[in-house]
Amino acid sequence: MKRYNHILILIAAVAGVQVLTAVLGKQFYLTQLTMTAYYCIAIVGLTLLMGFAGQISLGHAGFFAIGGYTSAVLTTLDLSQFKDSSIVSLLAKLFIVTSRQDLYGGQVLSFNPWAAFIIAIGLTLVIAYIIGIPVLKLKGHYLAMATLGFGTIIYSIVLGTQRFGAADGISSVPAFTLLPGLAVSGNTEFRVRNYYLAWTLVIGVMVLLINLINSRVGRALRAIHGAEDAAGAMGVDTARFKLNTFILSAALASMAGVFLTHYNGGIGPSEASIMKSVRYVAIVSVGGMGSLWGTLIMSTTLTFLSLRGYFGTFDDAVFGAILIVIMLFSPQGILQFDVKALLKKLLRKKE
């Protein structure tokens, strides 16, 4: 079970950080750390696609937004006026639509967050499937532009549609009660619980993905990455494996979107922006493309710093610079950075 050693370290780190914030009285850090966890899920999913299947996606924020917005729209939709229609009452009987109190104490009839979550993931799977089939036939520049185009379409739909709150986004999204006593919400009372919940999800996703890359599927993906037609000649259905990976990573991004939206109590169009997608790609690159752990470490660090506002007005510029510097000097990721080789190269040039 050597492959799980890092998981144990991660568990210890998650608990350690929580204890540390408690001891130092800096519990407010947990809020950003929780948000970081959700972004990490999306980014680790993208690593699987980019690093293992070798396919770039410049539209992954689009899937994050599909999850977040679907869930936000359904859980804030007020169906009270249709209470007596047969469909709504049927949905209510199935607990898909439930009644809850809104912020002002009124009664709202809207989708149960569980139902909304399942619908959001289902919708993501369908969209990823429909988009993925043609898009993944493309390579290189074409794939990059096509996914960029997909991301832009989602962004302009979100920004241009009144139902999605246009530039303001959607707010007052209710808490998502997973189990009695365990709800995804930004309520500070449940901050520690939410922190553990989010990181438990990260750990779960990491375990699943580590298993996957060590399986026959992981080997097939690396083969596709290494020499696509040889993989085909050995019987790997390259199109299907790429598509499944695309769908899986889209579903993870969407799931992250759903949870973060409930945690933040809302979602805005910037979550769907191209800059967000580029940021995910930047983090995957710094993490070393083919390294789940590298990505997780860099994703936690950079996202946390960014959320705490350490980059100030240079937030986007920092990620742009990271992209360039990493791709120029260390395309294998920052953790693999070979200082000696670079020095040698520079010295040789001077001579």
């Binding site: 298993n211 996957l212 399986s215 080997r219 290494g226 085909g232 000649a233 019987g235 390259t238």
Partner: protein, 254 residues
Amino acid sequence: MALLEVNNLSKRFGGLQAVKDVSFSVERGMIKAVIGPNGAGKTTLFNLLSGFAEPDTGEVRFRDAWIHGRGPHQIAASGISRTFQHIRLFSHMTALENVTVGRHVRSRAGFVAGMLSLPWTHREEREIREKSLNAMEFLGIAHLAHDEATSLSYGQQRAVELSRALAAEPEMLLLDEPAAGLNMRETADLANLIVRIRDRGITVLIVEHDMSLVMKISDEVVVLSYGEKIADEKPLAVQKDPQVISVYLGEDEC
């Protein structure tokens, strides 16, 4: 019934007729060679058989199924393995890992089983490893198992590619110029090896420029010239065929 039957296969690239109306068949358990000058369409023929290119017209039957128009992975799954004229190994993978990919068609763990790491997938992995090591032993390269594949010598890389194809336990093996770049001793070893592969019950279709190798091991020889089949005979008859001789004398003598 022949194991492989090719009927009137044609393929055009723009203005170039790369394969033209080629028909032949391969009996189970034989070694059949395809020869012809450079650009005769041999690799294209292999690409048509293995699903890498779709024929414009014509049919291919393997066992009892029509396989033309199927994708490479489907054809591989039906029992045809191939190697490439220009070696194509998976970079960033060890020799053993390369060979294990060959077992893909003989195993079945998918995304869900893989993510959940179900117990049966571990048994399957163990078998994949054993069979792959066996294939490497058969070629005498088991000691290279943990070296990075693309860092090996040319001859060793060829051996890795061949063990990868054998690991799939195919019924038919397509070899595209396996002797290219090998020295005389290595070529002689290769001849023995191909015969041993055939003796294991694997039917071999081989494209090769090395005439001595072809004449020594093959049971039948197809000759292509400008995409057309000009002969399909026993090796001795091919050597005497005036049409074949004129094609080869017009070219550089091999």
